[in-house]
Structure formats: C-alpha cells, structure tokens
Subunit: 212 residues, 2 copies
C-alpha cells in the first residue's frame, strides 16, 4: 500500500494532537469528535479530519475518534513509541539544561552522553551525566547506537559538530546553535533557533501595538 507523502504542515501539527489527546486521556475521556477538538484546540474541524485521515481512517462515523487508540496511532507515526538515545554536544547553558530536563526522558528520549571541548567543564557531573571530551565522541558512538545528536555549541563549532555526529552514524540532528548546518541526504535536521523565535515575538510586539 503506497501512502501519499504527508504534508509538512500536518507533521508540525501532530505533536499538538498528541499533547491534546494525552491531556484528554489523563482527564478520563474516552472519545472525541473533530468538532470537539476544534473547539478545544482552535483548529478548523475539516482540517482535523483531513489531517487524521492522512494516516488512515481512525475515526468512526457517528462516534468520532477513540482517544487511546488515536493517541497510540499518532505515537507510532511520530516514532515516539520506541526509545531513542541522544548525545548532547556542548555543555553550556542550553546543553546542561537539556541534559537535566526530565521531560524528554519521560517521552522516551534518553540523553546518554554529554560532550564539550572546554577542559574546565569536562569531568563535571550534570544531572546523571559526566561531561566528556568531544575527542571521545567517535569512540563513544562506535560503542553504542545513538539516534539523535543535539548541537548546543556556539555557531562557530556547529558545522564541525554536525559532521562528527553524521560521521559517527547519527541520523537526526537537533540544532540549538544560532546558525544552519549542512548535512548529507538521509540525515534529518530540526532547528531550534531561539534568537529567531525571540525576534518574531519582537516583531509582533510592535505590530500589535500599532494596530490596537
């Protein structure tokens, strides 16, 4: 069965569905309709039905969607039903925060290594991890498969870090450095550009002020 390519816009909404369904499940709800989700999430009901239908007919006419089942399907589609191992490169503010944040482990993303080049932080303990020298990264990756590499270095070191990760077999890069990185085909990059996000907020501050 050949599935159509999933539109980019739909993929970006999946985590939001997942979040909503998890909440509803926790609240003890059993089923939900597209109009109910529309009301709660502020999305158009047609869009919700269309989105969910990209992956197959999980709904039932006259009933709606079973929350537990739909949530399970979305987990499977996003690949968060399996455990993923992550290494974090750069033990500065952001790197340490991500290493210490329990929210990812709770969803199955486990940080197994934290690396830096700065000898003053190497050896320090951060949460469950001890900061290792980046020079050991290649050997580390040879010993154990790692799915996700998190770049938390300064911009100047980001590309080299990406290269090392890809060289070591990592196929997903989560990039927090304030620059873009180039990777070969088959490697996924997801950027978290905090400065960019802050600038967009800054733009909207003015926009709303002058319109209101």
């Amino acid at each position: 069965m050949e599935r159509d390519r999933i539109p980019e816009a739909v993929i970006r909404r999946l985590p939001k569905y997942y979040r909503y369904l998890s909440e509803q499940l926790r609240a003890g709800e059993e089923r939900v309709s597209s109009s109910g989700m529309s009301r709660d999430m502020g999305l158009n009901a047609s869009q919700i039905r269309r989105d969910l239908n990209c992956f197959g007919g999980f709904g039932q006419q006259g009933y709606g969607y079973n929350i537990e089942k739909l949530r399970g399907e979305i987990m499977r589609i996003m690949g968060i039903d399996a455990r993923q191992r992550m290494v974090i490169i750069g033990a500065g503010n952001i790197g340490q925060a991500l290493a210490g944040y329990g929210g990812f482990a709770r969803e199955g993303f486990l940080a197994v290594g934290l690396f830096d080049t700065d000898s003053t932080v190497i050896g320090q303990r951060v949460s469950e991890l001890v900061v290792r020298p980046v020079a050991e990264l290649a050997a580390f990756l040879r010993r154990q498969p790692v799915q996700v590499g998190v770049i938390c270095t300064p911009a100047a070191a980001a590309q080299e870090t990406a290269d090392r990760l890809v060289q070591g077999g990592v196929r997903g890069i989560w990039n927090f450095a304030p620059c873009d990185v180039q990777v070969k085909a088959g490697v996924a990059v997801e950027n978290v550009h905090l400065n960019d996000s802050l600038f967009v907020l800054s733009y909207r501050l003015r926009e709303d002020g002058s319109e209101g």
Copy 2:
C-alpha cells in the same frame, strides 16, 4: 501610507535574513544580490526579492542590496533596534539557562528579573540575577516596564503565569512550557515547544530511514 499586512511566512524568514546579513557584514561584504543570497541561503531568488519588497524598495537595479542598510532596515522592522526588557518566570533548567545565556542580551534583550515559587531556589543567584518569589512579580512590574515575559514553568502553572504577566502589563509572551496559553487580543505569544520539535525530528528519522 497604508502598508499591506506582512505574510506570516515572510515574518518567520526575517530573522534568517538578519542572520545572513550580519555574517556578510562581519565578513566585510558591502553588497549582495538576490541570486547571491539565494545561493548562500538556499531560498528562491524570486522569493527573496518579494520578501524584501514587502517593506519597501531597499534594492537597486543592477546593483543589488546594500548589506548594512538592508540589515538596518530589517532590524528596525523586527523591532530589535530598541532595547527590550524581559522577566523569566520559572528558575528550573530552562529558566536558568535562558537567564545565563548571553546571546539575547547581545541582541538587546535584557533579562531583568527571574522568578520562582519554590522556596529552595528563591534567593539563589543565577548569572547576574537573584531568584525572586513570584508573589513579588506584580510589584516588580509596577516599578519598571517589561516588554517580554518568558514562561519557563511546568505546564500546570503556565496559564496562571501568563495571566499574571498580562495583568502586569507585559504584551509579549515567550512560552517554553509544554502547553498553549490563552491571552487577550493585543498580547503576542511565541511558543518554543521543545517536545514538539523533538517529535518532528523523530518523525523524520523514520521517514528518511524508510525512504533511503
């Protein structure tokens, strides 16, 4: 002069232009053409010309764009030519990292307050700031104008925090909590949903794997 509304997609690209132009300026370049930017940034040249033209004709036929001037215009448009003051609510991993990160201050965004409800962290020094009790937030905001409120609390406290910030006159919310918050019209919200971002990466890991 009535300006057309700027498309959402263009606004999200502005920080990327800014980043590119800053780099070029640092490298000593003076002018750039849309085709040069296209090559370097991986965007379509038509799109670049169209984007930049949303704000007025900064270019010159046969010459291109003056980097310093264009960068200045984009700064002005995004509102990052002026200083902005931020308060951070939640002194956990993320809140502390943002308070300590120098990259925002360098762009004119200054963290002036860090708040938490946990008495074990209140009073602690984080970078230049001392963690204050959230109970003092209202009084703090009365004493000095703050443009941006950064929510770094757990999901359960996010909405209440947003309400307190808006009540205190903050008109821009940078939300790092893993949930959405509701605010009245005229308040801008920019979300940084780290879990969502990680899930999208996770989806692409599978996608590329099965296609490659």
